[in-house]
C-alpha cells in the first residue's frame, strides 16, 4: 500500500505516570477511541484508562502447548510400536511411562515459543518504522522517563486545532503533531 500522508495524530508528553493516566482516563470519558499511551515501563492504570483489558496471548500459548504434547507422544508411539518395533531389554514396545518425558518437554517448548511469537505477532512487531518516531521528543522520552498520550487522526473526533487545545487542557509538557 502507498505510504499514508498527513497527520498521524497529536502527541502529548507528561512527566509522571499520574498525569498521563489522568489525561488518558479523561480522554476516554470524552469519547476518544483511537488513542494510545506510551510509557517506559508497563503502567497498568494507563491501559485500563484507555480501555484495554484482556488479550489473546494465553489462548495462543495453550494451543501451542497442546500441539507439542500430542505431536511428540504420537511420534514416540509410532516409532516404538509401529515403525520399527524392537525388543529393548524385554520392555514392552509401548513403554508409555518413558514417553512422558519428551512429550512434556515439547509441550513446554511449543507453548513457550507460541507465547513469545504470539505476543510479538499480536503486537504487530516488528514495526521498525513508526510515525511516532517522527515526533522530535518521542524517542528521547518514551523509552526513558517520559509518558505520552497520543490522540490519533483516525478518530472521528479528531480536529487538529481543537484536539491540540483539548490536550493542552491537561497541562502536558508539550503537545506535538505527528506526521506519517
Amino acid at each position: 500500500m502507498p505510504p499514508r500522508e498527513g497527520t498521524y495524530g497529536l502527541l502529548a508528553e507528561f512527566d509522571t505516570p499520574g498525569d498521563l493516566v489522568r489525561a488518558a482516563r479523561q480522554a476516554r470519558l470524552d469519547g476518544w477511541r483511537r488513542l494510545d499511551c506510551y510509557t517506559p515501563y508497563p503502567v497498568e492504570e494507563a491501559a485500563e484508562a484507555i480501555g484495554f483489558h484482556r488479550n489473546k496471548v494465553p489462548l495462543v500459548t495453550l494451543v501451542g502447548g497442546l500441539m507439542g504434547l500430542v505431536a511428540m507422544f504420537l511420534l514416540e508411539m509410532w516409532i516404538s510400536v509401529l515403525a520399527y518395533p524392537l525388543n529393548i531389554g524385554g520392555r514392552p514396545t509401548y513403554s508409555w511411562p518413558a514417553f512422558i518425558v519428551p512429550a512434556f518437554e515439547w509441550t513446554i517448548l511449543f507453548a513457550g515459543l507460541s507465547a513469545a511469537f504470539g505476543m510479538l505477532a499480536l503486537n504487530g512487531l516488528p514495526t521498525l518504522y513508526h510515525p511516532l518516531f517522527n515526533a522530535p521528543n518521542f524517542r528521547d522520552g518514551a523509552t526513558t522517563d517520559k509518558f505520552f498520550l497520543c490522540l490519533e487522526a483516525l478518530d472521528p473526533k479528531f480536529d487538529l486545532v481543537e484536539t491540540r487545545a483539548y490536550l493542552t487542557s491537561f497541562q502536558p509538557v508539550s503537545v506535538v503533531e505527528v506526521e506519517y
Partner: protein, 472 residues
Amino acid sequence: MGTTDLKPNDPAIDPATGEYRVIAPGQTFRSITEKIAGIVLTPTTPLGWLALFGVAGAGATMLLVAVTWLFLKGTGIWAVTQPVAWGFAIINFVWWIGIGHAGTLISAILLLFKQGWRNSINRFAEAMTIFAVVCAGMFPLIHTGRPWLAYWMLPVPLTMNVWPQFRSPLMWDVFAVSTYATISVVFWYIGMVPDFGTMRDRSQNKVAQYLYGLASLGWRGSVRHWMRYETASLLLAGLATPLVLSVHTVISFDFAVAILPGWHTTIFPPYFVAGAIYSGFAMVLTLAIPLRKFYHLEALVTERHIDNMGKVLLATGFIVAYGYGMEIFMSWYSASHWEAFMMWNRMFGPMGWSYLVLVTCNLAIPLTTLWSRKLRTSISYMFFISILVNTGMWFERFVIIVTSLYRDFLPSSWGTYRATKWDYMTYVGTLGLFTALFLLFVRFLPMIPMSEIRMMLPGAKITAKTTAEAGD
C-alpha cells in the same frame, strides 16, 4: 533478624523495615537509565575488561584445541575407561546445567513470587543460564565416541529407517536440554526487547542505533504492547518454572534410571534440583560481586541482594544436606548390601577424599556460617563462599559418577579413575568460554533490565506517596 547488627543511620538501610534497600535512595528514571545504558554505550572499553577478555579468550582457545584433538584421537585421550566410562565430561555437563538453573529460577520463579529484588540481577542471571547451557550442551555431544553421528539421536527420517530409542534417559536429555536452551534464549531476548528500545534511543552512534533498532523490533512502549508483553513474560515464567525443575530431574534420571548402586535412587530428582539451585546461586554471586564493584552498581545490586542470595544458599544448602543424609540413612535402612557397600566405599574407599572435599565445601563451611547476617552481607566472605560452593557442587557430581562406577557389582571388574591433562584442559576451557561470552554480554547488552528497575522507583507510583519504598 533485628537491625541491631546494622549501622542505624546508614542511608542504605530502610528505616521502616530495617532491611537494606533494594535500590539505594536518590535514583530517578533517567539516572538509572543513563547508568545502565551508559555502561554499554560508552565508546571506550575499560582496560580491565580487555585484560580479562584476553584471559578468557585464551581459555576458550584451549578448549578449541582440546576438542579438536579429541575429535582426531577419540575419547581415549580422556581418562574414561572400564569401569568408569563416564568422567569429567558428564561431571561438567551436570555441573554447568546446574549452574544455569539459578538464572531461570531468579527470572522465572522469583518473578512468579513477585520478589521485586530479583529485578536487578535477573538479566545477567539469565545470561549466565544461557552461557552455562552452551558450555553444558557441548559435553554430551563431544563425549560420545563418534560425535559426527550425534544426529542419530534426533527423530529424523534416515535411509536406515532406524529411530531413536525413547526409553533411554539420554534421549530425554536431548529434548530436555534443547528445550531448556531454546526457552531460556527466548525468555532472555523477549525480556531485553524494551531495553533494546532504550538503547536504540540513547545511542548516538548510527550503527549502534541501527543494530539495537533491529533488536528492539521497533518497540515503542505502547501500553497495549506492554500488557501483552507482561502476560507473555508471566506465561514464559510459568512455563520456565516446571521446565527448569524437569530439566535437572531428567538429568538426575540419567543416573536414577540406571541400576548402579549410588545412582539408582528415587531421591535424585529433588536433590539434584536443589543442588543445581545451590550451585547456581553461588555462581550468580561469583559474577555479581565483581560486576557491581567493577561497574559501580552498588546502588542497584545492594547488600540486600547479597543477603537474600545468602539466604537462598542456606535454604538450598540444607535441602542438599538432607539429600546426603538420606543417602546414608537409606544405605542402612534399605538393608541392601549394594547400598551399604556403595556408601562405605564412597566414604572410606580409595576415593574417600573426594567425599570429604564435597562435605567440607557444601555443608561444613557454608551451612554453619551463613546463619550470620554479618557474614551474609560481607561481600568478600560471600564471594569466598560462592567459590567454595561451586567447587563443592562439582565434587558432588564427581562423587556420584566416579565413586559409584569404579566399584560396582562384580568385584573382579573394579577399577580406578585418573583424569588426564585433556580432561582438565576441556574443563578449564569451558570456564574460559563462559567468561568470554559473559564479558561480551556485559559489554554490548544492558546487564540490568531498565524497564523493570524503573517500575521500582518512587516515581513509578501513581498515587502520591513520599517514601522511596520500592519493590518488596
